[in-house]
Amino acid sequence: MAYLVVFAPLIASIIAGLFQKQIGDRAAQIITTGATISAALASVYLLIDVAYGGNARTIDIVSWMAVGQFEVNWAIRLDTLSAVMLVVITSVSSLVHVYSWGYMADDPHRARFFSYLSLFTFAMLALVTADNFIQMFFGWEGVGLASYLLIGFYYKKESANAAAIKAFVTNRVGDFGFALGIMATFAVFGTVKFDEVFAQIPEMSGEILTVFGMNFQALELIAFLLFIGAMGKSAQFFLHVWLPDAMEGPTPVSALIHAATMVTAGVFLVCRCFPIYEVAPDTSAFITFIGAVTALFAATVGLAQNDIKRVIAYSTCSQLGYMFFAAGLGLYSAAMFHLFTHAFFKALLFLGAGSVIHGLHHEQDMRNMGGIYKLLPATWILMIIGTLALTGVGLPIVLGGLGFAGFYSKDMIIEEAFAMGTEGVTFGMFAFWIGITAAALTSFYSWRLIFMTFHGKFRGKEETLKHAHESPPVMLVPLVLLAIGALFAGGVFKSDFVAKGAQSFWGESLPAGAYSDYKYGDYGSGDYTSGDSYGEEDHADESHSEEAGYGDEAHGDDHSERHPTWVLVLPVVVSAGGFILAWYFYMANPHLPGRIAATNGPLLRFLQNKWYFDEIYDFIFVRGTRALGDLFWKVGDERIIDGGGPNGIAATVMAGARRLARMQSGFVYHYAFVMLIGVVVLALVLIAGAGV
């Protein structure tokens, strides 16, 4: 079963990729889609088996390499963490496959596209099922490659090529950190297998690693380096620049790779390595900080974007920020929960946007849309569901909370951040307030997107409007399925992911989190048994007692001992505020944004230009690199290396040749003279050698 999940997409990809000429587009579509769907069904079975049946296991497939101490197996590690990822990946992937039947119907290179999609799916599966860092790195690079191929799918488009390269290069920075992290891991632990590494953590926690004469806390260093990798892949602040540009790829790709799966690999990495992060508080704080900043930053930029896909892209970036600061605060299961729900509603939003784009003949600029809800009613409704899920609409307090998927996961992260902040975890409060602000901004730009796209007057060309049409069923069916996920994924799975079922659900793959005892939980049971074997016991106990203390203090709160009511309500309130503001700007006074845009204020420009990140990077890295490259090239390479090396040797050779030519004067007595000198030299050499 596990083999089917991992390798079916690979085989399908190979068949579709290498034999597309023979089998044709149609067959390629059928094969890849069929393979992915069967993988999806199988992974649902696996999730049930692993998470509820408790059959966590690792299947060793083959020994990959064994060099001395260094042993790497190709394996499928099945625990709840990877099983959840399997479900997310295969289900979104199969829906995207299906959706692409419609979206890519006119594309002449469909077979190639489907082959890439399946290849990506395989790489992602290899990543999440890895039982060691090396296989994970393989998958990591594999998804990077697939992402590169898919972003640059329209290879004739220059911007697509540039975006693909940008994504690849930016990821390279992160991957470099990841690779260094793996090396450091091996250096410290002498193994790259997760189990063996984690088992050694308690004894290694004080380990010092000396690099270039500097002493590092070994585990902090490893954690930090691994996080660098995660930052690149998950487009966190500083390394986020590739993600918006990656929207050059076909929209289904954006939904699959740049919303639901690949970008969450960083979150997955941090969760997978949580035993390391638990004992690396400084790095965890750093993660929290970066995650929070990303959440805010991406949300602000999202406010001012006009490309429908870019808005969603920044939204993704922002939501990834939420996941990271959750992970940084130690709320691993919450981060995974948000990852899970986010996959559904973000894929829904992307595919919805794709539906709009498809309907409007590849128009992506929201300024050229408007009022098309009548033309694309299904898309409209589905997009609204997605937006509601994203903004986390729901009713707190009532029945222990009731709402869309995002309500459970995102609001929970925000609330838990508050809890952590009150406990004094570094950047906890910071993350909470940023979470609140970002939530407001998220609501604003999400509704702005809906209003600008579907409401008001159509602002594009008449021609476009005339041909605007609803998408075919083959595209709408996946949307509907995703919408169901966006509606119910949060409510249905909350207890397993983060509440009372969490302990048994995650097993040993993730700490269930302290909140699983308290929130939405059975207060009295208190059956929190610290079954984690990776040394997070102390930490858990510690937080346990602190929480208890806080709980006493905050006693009287009718809903939760951990959170004051205002904390529970605030996210929903600010989201509503965002909605109202958006309505005011884009529905009630549709001319207002235009006027604001006309004033061209510095803040707007700042946001529109994405905080000038691209410009800064262009200045520092691109031009800086070029200058550095020039320096290395012209000074280092040409003058020093070439000057001393090849060119220098060549010059010396030529100079020697000229000197020789001068010596070849043509005068017999010069020649005779040289001969005599030769005799003397030889005589001296002989005497010296003989030691007479």
Partner: protein, 202 residues
């Protein structure tokens, strides 16, 4: 004792005159010093009991080669002062090389040791009752016949070279050729022409 004195005198003169060949300003004097050097060497040969070689040296080198040199130098009118202008610029390096070379050679002379087998290998001195010339002849035409023949070939090559490189058959130069004159036939030079009256020889 007398032999030793003679050896040193001849040697000193040989070395001195060899140096003067190089350093003499006048080329004619240089050649004359060369002749003196040859004579001294001949004297050394006589001291060694090689009268024949001594005579050969005097006759061939002094009588032929050196005198030829003398003629050439006198006829060519070489401006040695001009040739020696370049002498100074290479003097230092040249002097250094020469002195090092001289040093190692002199050094080797001072610490000279014969091989143990050398004495046994040395050819016997001229046997009693046989003249130097006869002894040499016996060797050259018997034991060393190969070398003698080869030397002949070398000289042959030298002759061929001299002819090839210098002999010119100039056109337009009238030479007497006895053979041709004697072998001349009447038919070669006389033509009987029947001249028709009034037409002349066309």
């Amino acid at each position: 004792m007398l032999q030793a004195a003679a050896f040193y005198i001849f040697s000193a003169i040989a070395v001195f005159s060899a140096l003067m060949v190089v350093f003499a300003k006048n080329p004619v004097r240089a050649v004359l010093f060369l002749i003196l050097a040859f004579f001294s060497a001949a004297g050394l040969f006589i001291l060694l009991g090689a009268e024949f070689l001594a005579m050969i040296l005097v006759i061939v080198y002094v009588g032929a080669v050196a005198v030829l040199f003398l003629f050439v130098v006198m006829m060519l009118d070489i401006d040695f002062a001009e040739l020696k202008a370049g002498f100074a610029e290479n003097a230092i390096v040249g002097g250094a090389v020469a002195s090092v070379l001289a040093l190692v050679l002199v050094l080797s002379g001072f610490i000279w040791v014969d091989a143990n087998s050398a004495q046994a290998n040395l050819a016997a001195p001229t046997p009693e009752g046989v003249s130097n010339v006869a002894a040499l002849g016996a060797l050259i035409y018997d034991r060393y016949v190969l070398f003698f023949q080869l030397a002949g070939l070398v000289l042959l090559v030298a002759m061929i070279g001299a002819i090839v490189l210098t002999l010119r058959h100039r056109d337009g130069v009238k030479r007497q050729d006895m053979h041709k004159q004697v072998n001349r036939k009447r038919e070669d030079s006389v033509e009987i022409v029947d001249v028709e009256p009034g037409e002349g020889i066309g």
